[in-house]
C-alpha cells in the first residue's frame, strides 16, 4: 500500500512537471521529399551512360514549442531510396536541438545541429528551398564518395549562439558555435562508437550583414583532425605529428534577390597548416549562380561550380609509394524551378562536368585517366507535406 502511495505521489509529481507551459504548442510533424530522374551520358571513365530514378531525399521534422521562449526540433533524413533490406541509401539523425530565444540578438541552440557557415550550409538539405536538384558540389550529399564534403563545410555542431543586431535597415548577423571535431570513433575495437575520441572542439562562426534581400558574410572554423594518421604511419614519421592536425576553413558568401533577379555565390578555402609541409592538402571551392524569375513561380538559372582539391594516394605496386595529386572539378549547369503551388515544385537541371587530375609523372600512374567529362540531365519533383 505504501508502495502504491509512493508511485501515485511520483506520478502526480511527474504530471505536474509535464503540465502545459505557457506558450506550449502541440507537436507538429512535417517534412518534404524530392524524387529525381537522372540521365548520365558521355563518361569516358567507363561509367554509364545510365538512367536512374531515385528518391533523392526525404526529411521528416518534429517541432514543438516547449514554452514561450523554448522550442525543440528533430530532423531525420533518408537518402538515396533508403532501404535497409536492399542496403541502399542511408538514414541520418541530422538535427535534434532545443532553442532558447531571449531576444533577436541572442538565440541559444543546444543539441545536434547544422551550424551556420556561409549561405547554404544550414539549409543545404532543405531541397524545397533550393532551385537545384544537384546542389553545388560540397553541399551535395550524393557526392560523398568523390568529394570529402566534411572537409569543406562543418557538418554538425552542438552549441550555437546566434542572432542579429539591427542598425537602421541593416542587420548585422552573428553566429558562434562549438562542436565535435570530425574524428568520431566508428570502430568498436577502440571504445564506444559515436564518441569523439579526441580532446578537441570544432569552433566556428559567421559574421554577416543583411540589407533587405542583400546578404553577405564571412565564416570561419578551426578544428583538429586525425584524418592523416594513416599517412604518418606510412611515412614512418611520428604518428603524433599527424594527430590533432589543425584545420582552418574560411568562407565568404553573397546572395541577393529582387523581384526578378536571383544571385548567390560562395567561396571556401580549406587549409592544413602544420605537420604536412611536404604534402599539399589544401582545398578551395567556389560557386556562383545567377537566375531570373520569369514569373513568381518560375525561376531559370545558370550556375558554375569549381573545386581544386589536393589529395594523397598510396599505391601498393609491390612497394608502397605515396603520391600527391590535384583534382579539379568544374561544373557548368543550368536549370529551372517551377512552383506548381505552395507544396509542389518541379525542377530540371542540366550539368556539364569536367574533371582533371594533375598526377605526378610516374609509370605506375600512367594508366590513370587524367581528364574526362560527362553530362547529367535531371528532373525532379519536390513535395512539402
Amino acid at each position: 500500500m505504501q508502495y502504491l502511495r509512493t508511485i501515485l505521489i511520483a506520478l502526480v509529481c511527474c504530471g505536474s512537471l509535464l503540465t502545459a507551459q505557457p506558450g506550449e504548442s502541440p507537436l507538429r510533424t512535417f517534412g518534404y521529399f524530392q524524387n529525381q530522374f537522372e540521365h548520365v551520358t558521355g563518361r569516358e571513365d567507363g561509367v554509364g551512360p545510365y538512367n536512374s530514378f531515385l528518391m533523392q531525399q526525404l526529411n521528416l521534422f518534429f517541432q514543438k514549442n516547449l514554452a514561450r521562449d523554448w522550442s525543440a526540433f528533430v530532423n531525420f533524413e533518408l537518402l538515396n531510396s533508403y532501404s535497409s533490406s536492399r542496403q541502399w541509401g542511408g538514414i541520418n539523425l541530422e538535427e535534434a536541438w532545443v532553442k532558447y530565444r531571449s531576444s533577436k540578438q541572442f538565440n541559444l541552440k543546444i543539441g545536434l545541429q547544422i551550424p551556420l557557415f556561409n549561405n547554404l550550409n544550414a539549409i543545404k538539405n532543405r531541397t524545397p528551398l533550393l532551385p537545384y536538384i544537384v546542389r553545388p558540389l560540397v553541399y551535395e550529399s550524393s557526392f560523398n564518395e568523390d568529394i570529402p564534403l566534411e572537409e569543406y563545410v562543418p557538418q554538425q555542431a552542438f552549441v550555437q549562439v546566434y542572432g542579429f543586431i539591427p542598425s537602421g535597415k541593416i542587420k548585422i548577423e552573428h553566429a558562434v558555435y562549438l562542436g565535435n571535431s570530425p574524428n568520431i570513433n566508428n570502430n568498436s575495437n577502440y571504445g564506444q562508437t559515436g564518441v569523439d575520441t579526441t580532446d578537441n572542439f570544432l569552433v566556428g562562426g559567421r559574421l554577416g550583414i543583411r540589407y533587405d534581400e542583400l546578404r553577405a558574410g564571412i565564416s570561419g572554423t578551426y578544428e583538429k583532425t586525425n584524418f592523416f594518421e594513416t599517412l604518418g604511419r606510412f611515412l614512418q614519421l611520428p604518428v603524433s605529428d599527424f594527430r590533432d592536425l589543425p584545420r582552418y576553413r574560411l568562407g565568404s558568401d553573397l546572395s541577393f534577390r529582387s523581384r526578378k533577379l536571383f544571385l548567390e555565390a560562395e567561396y571556401i578555402d580549406v587549409m592544413y597548416e602544420e605537420g604536412l609541409e611536404a604534402y599539399e592538402l589544401d582545398k578551395t571551392f567556389y560557386y556562383g549562380t545567377m537566375g531570373w524569375y520569369f514569373s513568381e513561380q518560375l525561376l531559370v538559372y545558370g550556375t558554375y561550380w569549381d573545386i581544386h582539391q589536393n589529395e594523397v594516394i598510396i599505391l601498393d605496386t609491390g612497394q608502397l609509394r605515396l603520391y600527391n595529386y590535384r583534382e579539379i572539378v568544374q561544373v557548368a549547369s543550368a536549370g529551372f524551378s517551377y512552383n506548381l503551388n505552395d507544396r509542389i515544385a518541379l525542377k530540371g537541371q542540366y550539368g556539364y562536368v569536367d574533371i582533371q587530375l594533375e598526377i605526378p609523372p610516374a609509370p605506375e600512374l600512367s594508366n590513370i585517366l587524367d581528364r574526362f567529362d560527362y553530362q547529367v540531365f535531371t528532373c525532379a519533383v519536390s513535395i512539402i507535406f
Binding site: S71, K99, P128, L129, R259, E296, Q297, N339, D342
Partner: protein, 141 residues
C-alpha cells in the same frame, strides 16, 4: 429593397477602400501606438517575435487574395509568394511558423481583438473600437 441596401453598402465599402485603404491593427494590449513598414516587415518575416514588453507578437494573415492583401504586402515591399518562401525557410529551419491565415477580415478582427499581442490588417472601413490602429496604408493611385 435588399438590392438597394446592398448597392449602398457596396458603394460605401468601395468608397472607403478607394480613399484608403488598409489599416494595420493590433490588440489593445500591444505597447506601441504606431509602426513603420520596416517594423511590420520584421514582425511578418519572424525576425522580431517579441513586443517591447516581451509579449510574443502573434501575426495574422488574410487568406483570400485581393486588393487589401496586395496593398499590405506592397507596403512591406514583398510579394505574397516571396513572403511564403521566407516563411517556408523559417518553418523548415525550425525557426518559426507561418502566420495564421484567416478566411475573412471579420475573422482577423475577431482574432486580433481577442488575442494579446496579435497584429493583422483589414480594410480601414472594417475597423472597430476593439482593436488599436497602428497605421493606415494609403492607396497608391
Amino acid at each position: 429593397m435588399h438590392r438597394t441596401i446592398a448597392t449602398i453598402l457596396g458603394s460605401f465599402l468601395w468608397l472607403s477602400f478607394a480613399t484608403g485603404q488598409v489599416a494595420v491593427i493590433a490588440n489593445k494590449s500591444v505597447p506601441v501606438d504606431e509602426v513603420t513598414s520596416q517594423q511590420l516587415l520584421d514582425f511578418y518575416t519572424g525576425d522580431v517575435k517579441l513586443w517591447e514588453n516581451k509579449d510574443p507578437v502573434i501575426v495574422t494573415d488574410l487568406k483570400p487574395e485581393g486588393e487589401v492583401k496586395a496593398l499590405f504586402y506592397e507596403f512591406l515591399g514583398k510579394s505574397p509568394s516571396r513572403m511564403k518562401s521566407i516563411w517556408l525557410k523559417k518553418m523548415l529551419s525550425g525557426e518559426g511558423d507561418p502566420p495564421e491565415a484567416l478566411k475573412s477580415e471579420s475573422e482577423v478582427l475577431q482574432k486580433v481583438s481577442s488575442t494579446p499581442g496579435a497584429i493583422g490588417f483589414v480594410s480601414e472601413a472594417n475597423i472597430s473600437d476593439d482593436v488599436k490602429v497602428l497605421t493606415v496604408i494609403p492607396r497608391k493611385d
